[in-house]
Symmetry: C2
Subunit: 293 residues, 2 copies
């Protein structure tokens, strides 16, 4: 691919435009403003990008994939809003701007998160150009992977590990739920944007997403040690300072780099399960592993 | 109906048992415990009861109605957990026992609410004995009525009215969203448990629910003036003490009583839109209007 970054940016613009359209259906209020504020900004829209690319790979509908991807982005955004709240991570900044609760107050931020989580399922139910059978499956996968045995479950483990010394396996479990689950939802929902989607596609998409997510999380650990504070937009060394349990503490820096490479290769291998052109998803995996922020 | 209260209790037991079964699928953690804690207890399960009765009235599947009703109860429960949080109403007690965040901490209560909201949609996607078309409609109605243009929107108005002097119409709008919307979801989802459900049924169920919900809310205002503190399980006179905007302040006590009667009658009239036996839903409307707590 000649210019992957530009390709990624174009998809991000398409997703942002669709999010604007979806939100424009809603009555104006301080909470819809808070929802739009947190949905906006300069995010790379990696999750919807994955949805769009898996749909393309399967031969699915772009309209359906766009809506499914927006639903995942809404779930991702709600989780950031609630994570930043004082009773959770108490973060005042998100992507270089004031967190939702700093900008709109805690009560409105709580409600904006609740509303985005709810809205995601409204978007799935009303998605364009996809059969009811696959909409139901999309609701099933997204709710499972975002819920108490998925992303929320990862948050629960993260909280529990604050007071304790989790094993490497336990840390991997936490990464798998906290980070991989929603990336898996992105990939699987991309397949489901194709009415004829089968089990083999869902399995391969899930394998790609799991390995990509794990690599992403381990690179996160690495960047916390080796990263550039300005590029990252957050202080380096915070995991160590906060005595946070990371895989890196078990693997060491070289071991972590090695693990990230292996996981990235596994993600790319999973794409062999598809006949179509998976170049962009390969590029994404390599870009995630190589990223500096 | 010879013994309506017993009939209501039997349905509540059936709902509670199904909620237990649905929750037993989930991995054990402090947050699943918090979810079960808040789902449990001695609630009357009015919302799932309405779902069961509308399904019965339409000739729908009891299994589907039970799952649809449990989904609505999960949404109702998440809303109570989040409402009780310190950044919202800061209530330490709920139905005579410590609120979720008092029992499990604010972080776990936040996540338990998020997880219940997500779980509701998982329950809809996996509901027994109902077609995909109606599952998609159920997801659409529930997300719409629980979201930022529904129940959450009611919360937003409620917060906004804390600093202001809303008109009677504005208060009615707030009641309609905050209370009626989820009751409407209960009623409509009951109709959708019948694969052959039509627009006329959905319309009539919505009319019943709107009027029942408005009557319920106005009786709430009345009980805050005339109620018995022990029966209510909360202090009377709190609306006045907290300078809360209620319809009663515009209508006066007699006007409010009159309004509650008229709304109840309208709810009962809406049942004429159905051919089947709507006795239990009639009894429910009268019981809601006559309730002492």
């Amino acid at each position: 691919m000649t210019d992957f970054n530009q390709y990624l940016k174009n998809a991000a613009s398409e997703v942002s435009a669709r999010l604007d359209t979806l939100m424009s259906r809603r009555a104006s209020s301080v909470v819809t403003e808070a929802m739009k504020y947190s949905l906006g900004g300069t995010g790379k829209r990696i999750r919807p990008f994955i949805t769009l690319e898996f749909s393309k790979l399967c031969g699915g509908s772009r309209e359906a994939a766009l809506d499914f991807g927006c639903a995942v982005e809404m779930i991702h955004t709600y989780s950031l809003i609630h994570d930043d709240l004082p009773c959770m991570d108490n973060d005042d900044l998100r992507r270089g701007k004031p967190s939702c609760h700093i900008a709109f107050g805690e009560d409105n931020a709580l409600l904006a998160g609740d509303a985005l989580l709810t809205e995601a399922f409204s978007v799935l139910a009303n998605a364009q150009n996809v059969c009811d059978k696959n909409k139901v499956k999309a609701v099933g996968f997204l709710s499972e992977l975002a819920g108490v045995d998925g992303m929320v479950g990862g948050q629960v483990l993260d909280l529990a590990f604050e007071s304790g010394a989790p094993s490497l396996d336990e840390i991997y479990s936490m990464y798998s739920l906290k980070t991989c689950a929603l990336i898996k939802a992105s990939a699987v929902l991309g397949c489901l944007a194709f009415d004829g989607c089968n089990e083999k596609m869902i399995q391969a998409a899930g394998d790609y997403a799991y390995n990509l997510g794990m690599a992403f999380q381990i690179v996160d650990d690495i960047l916390d040690v080796t990263g550039n504070q300005e590029l990252l937009g957050k202080p380096v060394g915070s995991d160590d300072k906060n005595d946070k349990s990371t895989a890196l503490k078990y693997l060491g820096l070289d071991g972590a780099k090695d693990a990230a490479v292996k996981l990235t290769n596994k993600a790319v291998e999973a794409l062999n399960g598809f006949d179509g052109d998976s170049e962009a998803l390969k590029e994404l995996a390599f870009a995630m592993a190589d990223r500096k922020f």
